[in-house]
C-alpha cells in the first residue's frame, strides 16, 4: 500500500492553534495549575489573616500590616523603593510564584522529552515561544484573579477597610493582569536559556520575579518614572492611584517586552540544539 505524498504547509494560524491547544489542554489537565491558583488565593488570605494577631504572651495586638484591605493588591502610590514588607507584599507576588509555575511547566516539556515530539512535527520555534508565553500569561492572569478573591475573602473575614476609588482599583488589577504577558515572556525566555538546567531556571525565574534588580536601582535613582520601562516597574506602577493611562503604560511595556523576549527566545532556539 503506497502513501499519498502530499505536503501542504500548515499556516501560521494552524500551527499556533495546535500549539496553544496542546498547552491549554496540558494546563487544564495537570494539578500544578490548580495548586498555583490555590497558592495565589491563600497568600493574601494568610497575610491579612495573620497580620495584627495579638501576641500570645503579652496579649497586645500587633500593628496590622495594612489599614486598608486593598493595600494587599497594590500600594496607594507607585513605590519602587521598598522600606518594609507591607510595601512589597502585594499582587506583584503572583509574578514570583508565576515564575516558578512557568519553570515547572516548560521544564516538564524538556524533562519528559515531549519537546522532541513537538519539534519532530511542524511547530516552529517561534510557535513554541508564543504559545508558552500566551498560555503562561493566561495562567498568571488567572492567579491574579484568585489572589483578588483570596484578598477580598480574607478582608471580609478580618473586617478590614475596603475604602477605595473603584476605577483606580480596576485599573490597578487590570494593569497587573496585563503585566502577566510580559512576565510570562521573560520566564519563558529564561527557561529557554536554562532549558537543560531545571533548578537554575527556577532560581533565575525567582530572582527576576522578585524585582530585586529594579528595587536596587530604585534605591539609587529614587522613585523615578523611568523605572516603568521595566516589567517590575510597570507592575508597581499599577497601584491604587491608577488611571486608564496606567493600563496603557502596562499594556505597552508588557507587549514590547513580550515581543523582545519572543524574538530573542526564538533566535536562541533556532540556533541551538533542542536538548
Amino acid at each position: 500500500m503506497g502513501k499519498t505524498l502530499r505536503f501542504d504547509s500548515p499556516s501560521f494560524g494552524r500551527r499556533l492553534k495546535g500549539m496553544l491547544g496542546v498547552d491549554f489542554y496540558r494546563l487544564f489537565h495537570t494539578p500544578m495549575y490548580y495548586i498555583f491558583l490555590a497558592i495565589a488565593a491563600i497568600i493574601p488570605a494568610m497575610i491579612l489573616g495573620t497580620s495584627g494577631i495579638p501576641d500570645p504572651q503579652t496579649g497586645v495586638a500587633a500593628t496590622p500590616l495594612y489599614t486598608n484591605v486593598w493595600h494587599i493588591i497594590a500600594a496607594e502610590e507607585p513605590l519602587y523603593v521598598v522600606s518594609d514588607i507591607a510595601e512589597y507584599a502585594n499582587m506583584d507576588m503572583v509574578f514570583i510564584f508565576g515564575g516558578i509555575m512557568v519553570s515547572i511547566f516548560i521544564g516538564h516539556d524538556y524533562k519528559s522529552g515531549y519537546v522532541k515530539q513537538l519539534f519532530t512535527t511542524h511547530p516552529k520555534k517561534q510557535d513554541y515561544m508564543m504559545s508558552k508565553t500566551i498560555t503562561c500569561a493566561f495562567a498568571m492572569a488567572c492567579m491574579c484573579v484568585t489572589y483578588l478573591i483570596g484578598a477580598v475573602a480574607a478582608g471580609l473575614l478580618t473586617g478590614g477597610s475596603f475604602q477605595v476609588d473603584p476605577l483606580a482599583l480596576l485599573c490597578a488589577v487590570l494593569g497587573k493582569m496585563i503585566m502577566s504577558l510580559g512576565w510570562a515572556s521573560l520566564y519563558t525566555f529564561l527557561n529557554i536559556i536554562f532549558r537543560k538546567y531545571f533548578g537554575v531556571s527556577i532560581a533565575s525565574s525567582f530572582f527576576f520575579g522578585t524585582g530585586i534588580l529594579i528595587i536596587g536601582a530604585a534605591a539609587i535613582v529614587g522613585n523615578s518614572a523611568w523605572l516603568n520601562v521595566f516589567l517590575y516597574g510597570s507592575s508597581v506602577y499599577a497601584c491604587l492611584s491608577s488611571t486608564p493611562v496606567t493600563v496603557l503604560v502596562c499594556l505597552v511595556c508588557s507587549v514590547v517586552w513580550a515581543l523582545v523576549y519572543n524574538v530573542l527566545g526564538t533566535r536562541i532556539l533556532s540556533k541551538c540544539d533542542v536538548y
Binding site: 500500500m1 503506497g2 502513501k3 505524498l5 505536503f7 501542504d8 504547509s9 500548515p10 494552524r14 500551527r15 492553534k17 495546535g18 500549539m19 491547544g21 496542546v22 489542554y25 496540558r26 489537565h29 495537570t30 516538564h108 519528559s112 522529552g113 515531549y114 519537546v115 522532541k116 515530539q117 513537538l118 519539534f119 519532530t120 512535527t121 511542524h122 511547530p123 516552529k124 533556532s270 540556533k271 541551538c272 540544539d273 533542542v274 536538548y275
Partner: protein
C-alpha cells in the same frame, strides 16, 4: 524522489565530530536499516533529521524539500530514545496532546486506531509512568503513527525489551512496515531482527556512511559457506586447506567459504580419512556481513 537525501552532513559536540560529511539516501517506501556501532552517529543523524539538533554543515532534504519545511515535518513521526510523554498524564492524554498538535480532525478515532496497532487499547487510561518499558516503547510508536506519517524514524525501538516485549515489538514493526506503507528509517543493534524487515541498509562508522546497499545487493554479496564437524577438527582443517582457499575455524565449526557443493567437501574429507559428523550449507547474514565489513575497516 527520495524520502531522505543527506549530503555532507556534519555535526560536532564540543569540537568532537559526531558526523563528518555524511551522505545518505533513503528511497520513498524503503525500510531502511541504519546500522553502526555505539557512538557511530546513528542517533545524531536521526536527531538532525527530526530537527532536534542544528547541523554544523551539509544539507538534509525530506521528500525533496528542506527538512525544516513544516509541510513535510507534519508528515514525520519519530521515536528517538524514549516516547517523550508526560509521566503523570494517561496514555490517552499524551496521545491527545499530539493529536491536537497535529490538528487531527477526529482525534479519538485516530487515537483508537494507533492504540490498536500497538496493542494498547486496554491501557488508554493508564498513567504513562505506570507503564512497563515495552509498553512505553509501544506508546512512543503510537505517538509517531498519529496523523498518517509519510516518514517514520525509529531509534533502537527494541532496545532493552525482554523476550516477550521484543516479540510483540517485532510483530508491530512487521505490521507497520507491511500495512502502512510509509518510509521507515530504523536503527537497531539486533541485526537479525532488522534483516527480517529491511529493504535497504546503511552502514555508518565514525560519523561517515561507509556503505549503502539494498537487501538484494546484500543477498548478492552474501558469501555461501559450508560448516561442518569431524572428530579430528585440526586434521580436517589441514586437509581442507590443501584444496580450498578460505577455511576457518569459527565457533567450534569448520567453515569453508565460497563453496557450493557439500558433496565435494565430504568426498575430499573421506579421501583424506576424516568422517564428517555434521555438515550444513549456509549463507552469510547481515550480522556476519557487518562484522566482516567492520573487521576489514579496522584493519585498514
Amino acid at each position: 524522489m527520495n524520502a531522505i537525501e543527506i549530503k555532507g552532513l556534519s555535526k560536532s559536540f564540543r569540537g568532537l565530530y559526531a558526523l563528518d560529511g555524511l551522505d545518505m539516501t533513503v528511497p520513498v517506501g524503503a525500510i531502511y536499516g541504519f546500522i553502526g556501532e555505539n557512538g557511530s552517529g546513528k542517533s545524531t543523524t536521526e536527531k538532525l533529521i527530526c530537527g532536534h539538533l542544528v547541523p554544523d554543515g551539509g544539507q538534509i532534504r525530506l521528500f525533496g524539500r528542506p527538512h525544516t519545511d513544516p509541510g513535510v515535518r507534519v508528515r514525520v513521526g519519530a521515536l528517538i530514545e524514549n516516547a517523550g510523554c508526560f509521566p503523570g498524564s494517561s496514555v490517552y492524554q499524551n496521545l491527545m496532546m499530539q493529536a491536537i498538535n497535529l490538528g487531527l480532525e477526529h482525534p479519538d478515532e485516530e487515537i483508537g486506531r494507533v492504540l490498536k496497532i500497538v496493542r494498547m487499547e486496554e491501557h488508554a487510561q493508564l498513567r504513562f509512568k505506570k507503564c512497563s518499558l515495552g509498553m512505553k516503547q509501544r506508546i512512543g510508536i503510537a505517538m509517531a503513527l498519529l496523523g498518517d506519517p509519510a516518514l517514520l524514524i525509529l531509534d533502537e525501538p527494541i532496545n532493552g525489551l525482554d523476550t516477550d516485549g521484543m516479540r510483540i515489538m517485532r510483530e508491530i514493526l512487521v505490521q507497520i512496515t507491511q500495512e502502512l506503507g510509509c518510509t521507515v528509517l530504523i536503527s537497531s543493534h539486533l541485526l537479525g531482527e532488522l534483516e527480517k524487515i529491511a529493504t535497504h541498509y546503511g552502514i555508518i562508522r565514525q560519523g561517515k556512511m561507509i556503505m549503502e546497499l539494498t537487501a538484494q545487493e546484500l543477498e548478492g554479496r552474501a558469501r555461501v559457506f559450508v560448516s561442518l564437524k569431524t572428530k579430528d577438527m585440526q586434521g580436517a582443517e589441514a586437509a581442507l586447506r590443501r584444496r580450498y582457499r578460505d577455511v576457518r575455524m569459527e565457533e567450534d565449526l569448520l567453515r569453508v567459504y565460497d563453496v557450493d557443493s557439500v558433496e565435494d567437501i565430504v568426498d575430499h574429507l573421506m579421501k583424506s580419512g576424516h568422517v564428517v559428523s555434521q555438515i550444513e550449507k549456509n549463507k552469510i547474514g547481515l550480522e556476519e556481513y557487518y562484522i566482516e565489513l567492520m573487521s576489514k575497516k579496522e584493519g585498514q
